[in-house]
Symmetry: C2
DNA sequence: CCCATAAGTATTATATTGTAATACTTTTTG
DNA sequence: CAAAAAGTATTACAATATAATACTTATGGG
């Protein structure tokens, strides 16, 4: 007998719903999520281990996902990997994202000014997630991929979004964050992080030097709704030694701010 | 009493599995897929209509997907829309895609030569799906979004991939395709389409002029595995009148071919 | 402005569907 | 080559998903 286990987050409004919740669906997604952690194919046993499902369940969901076309199975190794069909979801999301639509052409323009990569990111839980990327240099592969998550607390995008949210919200996010250092320069101290957020607010842009990658400078400016609340950030990475922090502040920060402002101005009013 | 309905495709190898198939998972994905067709939020009733689920089922799956964070609900209108979290799947897929990883830097380089957009696409069923996009001009928004599908039969990418598959496979795909014209120049006739595929094979690249968009020229070259079979295509769009078909053939086609060849050469041998 | 209709929400009894135990086969590895 | 591990198939069981229905909230035409 299995206890109902895993306390499930219950949405704030209107909730009787244990009975309107389909647990099987959650389990299916858990299997897909198991592939998010790292590259490499997974065997049945490893999937079971990562998801907390038993072997039978892993078998069933894995099989179902394969039949649906979301997983591929290598008949030799009998291991699974994500299938192209998953890309449908990116399209589904982006097609509905008014922000991405407005931003796209402006991000492309911005990327041409100095020939840099330009990204759009939004906050989700304690992370930022890149929704649109206009890559211009060969950074590490994961850094060029849409859908990539990074911790909000140590990224320029994350800090500048929090800078344009309420103090309470910013603190809540920082407190909920796993603030493990990524590089030896990553600022993890709560007060210091809050300080960086305050700075971002003062300057109108966030900047991180070697926070997430040793040789990376990252600047980001907020996309604001009509109440002045950040809903996203335009982020521009630059790499040392080609760029210096000062150059980034003088050239890239204004570009990010101008681009973000232009996007903000086009948003259809919330409410 | 509901008949077991919807004859389900049964995977070719090893199949007893009605019992290893979780129908609820399929229904959940059907709900997400309902959002793929077009932009705009959906209400419960419309979701039920599009998915073929009854109101209760739509209610259950919609609620579950919302709790999982894949759908958002507007409390005012009580309508649903895709949530950012769907972008996770793009990352999950791309992170595991050796091809995308190899291709990325080369596509970026290629895009700089003439300042054009450069895409990577793969075949899925009768469609191509863009997995990597390096956008350089403001085309229509959907045309810049990864995960976008287009019919294989009328795209340069689709025809050139089929050109480097077996004749049987190419015919099977064309026959299975819904060959509705997209522009007034779209070639839909079976023989004519097969002819275009043969031409692509002869020249080493595919080209379409106004096939999918009135003023678009599209060229594409095949990425080949070690047996000479196409696994993807490098596709470059150009727009008239800035580009003429002849210029595209002389400049963009060679660029696409060179880029595709370079990617092919880096693939770890299949098998 | 108000009524009629449609859309969305909540509840519950029922059995279909998902479950997990187990035995079997294939692969890996020491 | 033996032993263990990984993957596959089968089945009896009941927990979970289901769909009918009653209820509440919105919408739009007269």
């Amino acid at each position: 007998m299995i206890e109902n286990s895993q306390a499930r987050k219950v949405s704030s409004e209107s909730n009787q719903s244990q009975t309107l919740y389909v647990g099987s669906l959650e389990k299916g997604f858990r299997v897909l999520e198991a592939f998010r952690d790292g590259p490499g194919d997974l065997g049945l046993t490893e999937i079971a281990a990562r998801t907390g499902l038993d072997k039978s369940a892993a078998q069933r969901f894995t099989n179902t996902l394969q039949q649906l076309g979301y997983l591929e199975k290598d008949p030799r190794s009998r291991r699974y990997r994500p299938a192209v069909r998953l890309m449908d979801f990116a399209y589904t999301y982006l097609q509905h994202d008014q922000l991405a639509e407005i931003a796209m052409s402006r991000l492309i323009e911005a990327s041409k000014i100095f020939g840099t990569t330009v990204n759009l990111c939004v906050l989700i839980d304690t992370a930022i997630i890149y929704t649109v990327r206009i890559p211009h240099e060969k950074a590490s592969f994961p850094a060029t991929v849409p859908g990539r998550r990074m911790p909000a607390f140590c990224t320029a995008g994350g800090t500048v979004i929090l800078a344009y949210r309420s103090r309470e919200e910013a603190e809540a996010v920082i407190d909920a964050s796993d603030r493990t250092a990524i590089t030896d320069k990553t600022v993890t101290d709560r007060t210091a992080v809050m300080e960086r957020i305050a700075e971002a607010r003062d300057r109108g842009y966030g900047i991180g030097i070697g926070q997430a990658l040793p040789n990376e400078i990252s600047v980001a400016a907020p996309v604001l709704d009509n109440r002045g609340r950040a809903i996203a950030a335009v982020q521009i990475p630059a790499y040392m030694p080609q760029w210096t922090p000062q150059e980034a502040r003088e050239k890239l920060a204004p570009l990010a701010m101008e681009t973000a402002r232009s996007i903000s101005g086009m948003l259809r009013p919330t409410e």
